[in-house]
């Protein structure tokens, strides 16, 4: 009885996570030649949500380091630590943009830019954040979708 119950729970959990989308776990990500062509989730990224994540100080906060003209109307402070991202979609493939967000350190080991979807590899993370990625797989896809709208 007990055993069957456990099996049932296991199947149910498997279904639950499978139903949303098969996600690539941070540890299974493989960046090849600076690109990550396979999306992290099955559900396509939503550019509008991505735009909000990009600006949100508690989520992507990409705006802390990057200026983007598209957000000048609504957001007062745009950082200048990294390059402006106007037109990035003309320069990089979607796979390159995804890789850049997931783990920029794979190409640029010394970069200040955080790795938003990387398993571990950090030092003295506060308890609340330890072992967690900065963005979820779906959030990464949303931001990638937003970056793809940045064309000139």
């Amino acid at each position: 009885m007990k055993l069957r119950h456990a099996v049932a729970v296991a199947i149910f959990c498997g279904l639950a996570s499978g139903a949303g989308a098969a996600e690539i776990a941070p540890g299974d990500v493989k960046i090849v030649e600076g690109a990550l062509d396979t999306p992290l989730t099955e559900k396509a990224g939503d550019p509008e949500t991505g735009r909000a994540i990009f600006a949100n100080r508690k989520q992507g906060n990409c705006l802390a380091c990057h200026m983007v003209t598209d957000l000048l109307d609504t957001e007062q402070f745009h950082g200048e630590v990294g390059p402006a991202l106007d037109g990035v979609a003309d320069v990089y493939s979607v796979g390159e943009l995804r890789a850049r967000i997931v783990n920029p350190k794979s190409e640029l080991p010394d970069t200040i830019m955080p790795s938003f979807y990387r398993a571990g590899g950090t030092n003295r993370s506060a308890e609340k954040f330890a072992g967690k990625t900065i963005l979820s797989a779906q959030q990464v896809e949303d931001v990638v979708a937003y970056l793809q709208t940045l064309k000139e």
């Binding site: 100080r57 906060n61 705006l63 802390a64 380091c65 007062q76 402070f77 745009h78 950082g79 200048e80 630590v81 200040i112 955080p114 790795s115 590899g121 950090t122 030092n123 003295r124 993370s125 506060a126 308890e127 609340k128 954040f129 330890a130 967690k132 900065i134």
Partner: protein, 276 residues
């Protein structure tokens, strides 16, 4: 940023004198690093990166809210406390600003002799006098009593160049602090150097990044609505990168304080500085 660096380096070279302050085209004042080993080509106080109204609040002793703590500490100086029933004045003399001249600019450092010898910042030295010499209770870190007395000791050297020594017994701590400075911490995985060496002069969102110098500490900070210690600021920077900070007043932050202070050797002490 690159442009600014070359202008500054040029101006600093022209002045020649090691503590000479160069007024620059873009408004930053810089001093030359005092050591050839410094990673910086220009040493700039956090003051230079603040807006004019903040600078003016610092410059006017009547407006500067940090001065209130200084006044309180000056009164406390002659209050006898502890089992020895002694005041600071009983041993150090009646005028605290005179007694403490040449002290604040040299900390953190090794102090005292024999069993009492240890590496201390000003806070820990004051508490050493309280517990060992006055038989009084140590003051709590980052509370008004200790902050105020620390402000007083530093203020006695206001305008004097930061001058910490990093060789001899301090070398191991210096190396440890240096390593910490370049170590990535926290979920955001950044080092002090990423922001304060590679990016000073740049805006990170709404914040104008400085070199993260300590010459104004303890500092009045508008965000804190009060005065805070160097270690409190370190803690805040670590929390911002989602890291577990080290403990205030203890060895790790003392090592980092030594190393960070050394990067600012030559900068005039501003205590109590005003920051946003």
């Amino acid at each position: 940023m690159k442009r600014v660096i070359s202008i500054l380096a040029g101006a600093a070279m022209l002045t020649g004198a090691s503590y000479a302050v160069a007024e620059l085209a873009d408004g930053y004042k810089a001093v030359e690093p005092t050591s050839e080993d410094s990673p910086l080509t220009e040493v700039i106080s956090g003051y230079e990166f603040r807006i004019k109204s903040t600078q003016e609040t610092q410059d006017d002793d009547f407006e500067n809210p940090g001065m209130l703590l200084l006044d309180q500490a000056a009164d406390q100086w002659s209050v006898a406390e502890g089992s020895a029933e002694k005041s600071c004045a009983d041993c150090h003399g009646d005028d605290p600003l005179e007694a403490m001249q040449g002290v604040g600019s040299t900390y953190p450092k090794f102090t005292e002799k024999g069993d009492h010898r240890a590496f201390r910042n000003i806070e820990n030295q004051i508490n050493h006098c309280r517990t060992e010499r006055m038989g009084a209770k140590a003051w709590k870190y980052d509370k008004p009593d200790l902050l105020g007395m620390t402000v007083l000791v530093r203020h006695a050297d206001r305008g004097e160049p930061v001058n910490v020594v990093v060789d001899g017994d301090a070398e191991a701590l210096f190396e440890r602090g240096k390593e910490m400075y370049y170590t990535r911490y926290g979920q955001l995985d950044m080092s002090c150097a990423h922001c304060h060496e590679d990016n000073y002069g740049n805006y990170i969102r709404a914040d104008h990044l400085s070199q993260g110098q300590t010459n104004g500490f303890p500092t009045y900070r508008m965000k804190w609505q009060g005065v805070g210690s160097t270690h409190r600021r370190f803690k805040g920077c670590m929390k911002n990168i989602r890291a577990e900070p080290f403990k205030v007043g203890e060895d790790d932050f003392l090592a980092l304080e030594l190393y960070t202070s050394w990067r600012g050797n030559g900068l005039p002490i501003e205590t109590p500085a005003v920051r946003n």
